[in-house]
């Protein structure tokens, strides 16, 4: 399966989705001009991955900031991951960033996937 690798920018996150090496990570800042357009390839990739996933998947979110338009798309990403067996979300937040911790908790209440919270 092809690797999805998006370089981060000042308004878009860095994304690596690599089935072979078991790396699934969205990190950095997410405030794109058109969040639906930006996350479309990510949702497509996950759709394909769901057809033949690894036995277990640790999907890492390590976001420094995301805007509200991105929050809907992050929920879409999580909803797409929800149907994949062996899925686990690793939600990283900066140790003094209560808002990011709370955001992760809110997402975890909206989908049926185990979340593990970690600070960095």
């Amino acid at each position: 399966m092809e690797i999805l690798n998006l370089e981060g920018a000042e308004d878009t996150p860095k994304i690596i989705l690599d089935k072979k090496n078991g790396i699934f990570e969205i990190s950095g800042r997410s405030l794109p001009e058109d969040s639906a357009e930006f996350y479309r390839p990510v949702l497509e990739w996950i759709g394909n991955y769901g057809g033949d996933p690894n036995p277990s998947t640790e999907f890492v979110f390590k976001l420094e900031y995301f805007n509200t338009a991105s929050s809907k798309l992050i929920l879409d990403v999580l909803s797409a991951l929800e149907d994949i067996k062996g899925m686990k979300i690793m939600w990283y937040y900066h140790e003094d960033d209560e808002d990011m911790e709370e955001a992760g908790q809110e997402f975890s209440e909206l989908v049926e996937i185990p979340f593990e919270f970690k600070t960095y």
Partner: protein, 182 residues
Amino acid sequence: MNFIYELHRTMMSEKLILVYQGDFTQETTKSILAMAERNLDSSGEGSSTKRKVFNVMVEALQNIVKHSDELVDGETRSHAAIFLIGKQANRYSIMSGNPIRKENIANLQKKLEHINNLDKDGLKDLYKEIIKNTTISEKGGASLGFVDMARKSGEKLEFSFPEMNAEYCFFCLKVNVPRGEE
């Protein structure tokens, strides 16, 4: 040219640290954010306050980009809006102003009043409700931005609609972010 001095004095007395007027795009949004971030960093602001200010700024700026009504005056069309940041001893104020067609005011005012009537938990529930049940409209869902501004600031949103002409008012929004909780 006295207006230059007048403008300067107004900025000083209102404690404004950044004023931008003109067309708003994603590019200007990024520039304004970068400028404000440098300012916050160099003033040694606490990281929690910095993050909240950044949050509110992004939502306010992107609201203008996506929702400001085009001002049509005869042949002239413009998206001119204004964005300001004030810095007082105990808080930052993130302020914006943009034209709004009069027929759009009632709906916006209703949303803002609803948000202002909610407490912390009410805002959290509304936030979850919106991201769960709505798809992003082509304009991108401004009410979620207002909910987030209210949550991050922990204060009521201040707003007014002074009249511009027969068709337009100017939507003024002020969001206060308290300083130095750490």
